[in-house]
Symmetry: C2
Subunit: 301 residues, 2 copies
């Protein structure tokens, strides 16, 4: 999994601060997560082939998470896109987009497939042979979901040398990768583990923004390879979290620790702080494996 941070700041776009957007590359997919104003320019700056994006996941309908969506949709039209585009987000997102397309008489040349969400419990949104995507219901001022991206356990890896030594015909290799035992040319049953290696452990990424401290999400994100969790404030401004339904760096780290994740990435920083290292210090007191997001930073998960 490769995670590109396109923007990780809260509230308003500024000269050197993009609002929330991320691109997750996993098993051949380019998943776009949130799409604040200017995301299409950030995508160009990142030099990713963003025409390959087929699924866009919007967490909630605050401007710093979706105002760039209509522009990206229009740009896809101008670029001659033909592939379907799936948009997952809160109920209402379809009306916002289609109203603007209608009034500008600029319908897309490609199919826009809206998947509007209103469930308060986790749902599976996408699945193919290699990846699943689920919602993570969060607690914010408006209806909000995080998203959980999970690789499926892959095939076992063939040990070609061992398989040949065990006199297994090549036509059985597919079965071996599927984890089955096979009979060799001498009629002997060969245990799968003798001639294969275990698959790579599946990776997973949880995106949680924006949300008040919500420990109830820990079981769902237990053991994920990487967790992005918003940290809008430091503990000294904990009182602001109650009103705005955001989290502190310490709260994000607490979630990471309790869920036993491998790695925590913090973002959605309030612009009131000049020194973002304070977030890192505060979080590391609770959970050591913490990093700060930064616009255009790339994480290999």
């Amino acid at each position: 999994m490769i995670l590109t941070i396109l923007g990780c700041h809260s509230a308003t776009p500024k000269t050197f601060h993009n609002p929330t957007s991320q691109l997750l590359e996993v098993k051949g997919h380019l998943f776009l997560i949130d799409c604040g104003e200017g995301t299409q320019v950030a995508l160009r700056k990142s030099k990713v082939k963003f025409a390959r994006i087929k699924h866009i996941f919007i967490s909630h309908l605050h401007g710093d998470h979706f105002y760039g969506l209509i522009g990206l949709i229009s740009t896809f039209t101008l670029l001659g896109r033909e592939a379907d585009l799936n948009i997952y987000g809160p109920k209402g997102i379809k009306e916002i987009i289609t109203l603007q397309l209608k009034l500008s008489k600029s319908w897309t040349n490609y199919s826009l497939l809206f998947h509007e969400l209103d469930s308060k419990i986790s749902e599976k949104l996408f699945e193919d042979e290699k990846v699943e995507v689920f919602t993570i219901p969060l607690d914010h001022r408006v209806y909000t979901n995080g998203y959980l991206f999970k690789e499926k356990t892959g095939e076992r890896k063939l040990n070609p040398k061992a398989a040949i030594e065990a006199n297994i015909d090549k036509s059985y290799f597919r079965k071996l990768k599927m984890g089955e035992d096979v009979v060799n040319e001498k009629g002997q049953l060969i245990p799968n583990q003798q001639v294969t290696f275990p698959p790579e452990p599946p990776k997973s990424y949880a995106f949680c923004s924006d949300t008040a401290f919500k420990p109830e999400i820990s079981p769902q994100i237990e053991g994920v390879t990487a967790l992005y969790h918003e940290a809008t404030f430091l503990e000294e401004h904990l009182h602001l979290c109650e009103k705005t339904k955001h989290s502190t760096a310490k709260q994000a780290a607490t979630i990471a620790r309790d869920a036993g994740v491998e790695q925590l990435i913090l973002g959605h920083f309030s612009t009131r702080y000049d020194d973002l290292n304070l977030f890192l210090e505060e979080a590391k007191e609770v959970f050591e494996e913490t990093s700060l997001a930064a616009d255009y930073k790339v994480f290999e998960i």
Copy 2:
């Protein structure tokens, strides 16, 4: 009048190309004209005090002219704005903005005053003691207006030395500035022109984007101090103008010449051209006083 080009390119925002937006400073007003995606960041980069903007004029509902509006409105809320904000634009703009504010539960703290337009003949939109603003109906794929900003003729300027020599009491100076003749302390009638200078000639600025070649606008913009006219294409792509309802550099220059304007500024360049000087060359063959717009360029009109 000071005109700041915030963006002057057509279609999609790119790393170094902003879509259309301009800021016109005139007689204490900051008028924002069009507001493509990223305009609020361009305003920050220009270091203008954009909280002073009280009137925003949107030409039409194509994305490259208004997708940045909702973000700017939201940013004003976050910055604690209290002053009214007037938005002039095609019918439908109110629904687009209010739908997004409603779904994000983010009503503004200040009054948003929408002035929706659907007239096909020119209207006066704004007037105070010093400035008037009119629509310039244009010809595009959707309902579109340009805007004409006109200073009113100002007061005559007092010649203090001449006024004192003519024995005029100071209490009459106000009347002199208003252009009236006055009686001096000796009971003589003093002709106004003897003791005053004529006012600065009023300036005017016409913004015309986007539009097909429309010579009918020439009488309305006759003699303006500066005309911004779109030039999306060069003459070699004239055939594209018919389909897209845009203009060539030559057509823009023809309008400027026929309307007898003092200065022409070209913009809304298609991204298909690498060398924008070709626009300048083509236009200058018809109208010498032509300049090219460029993002962040400032014109003193």
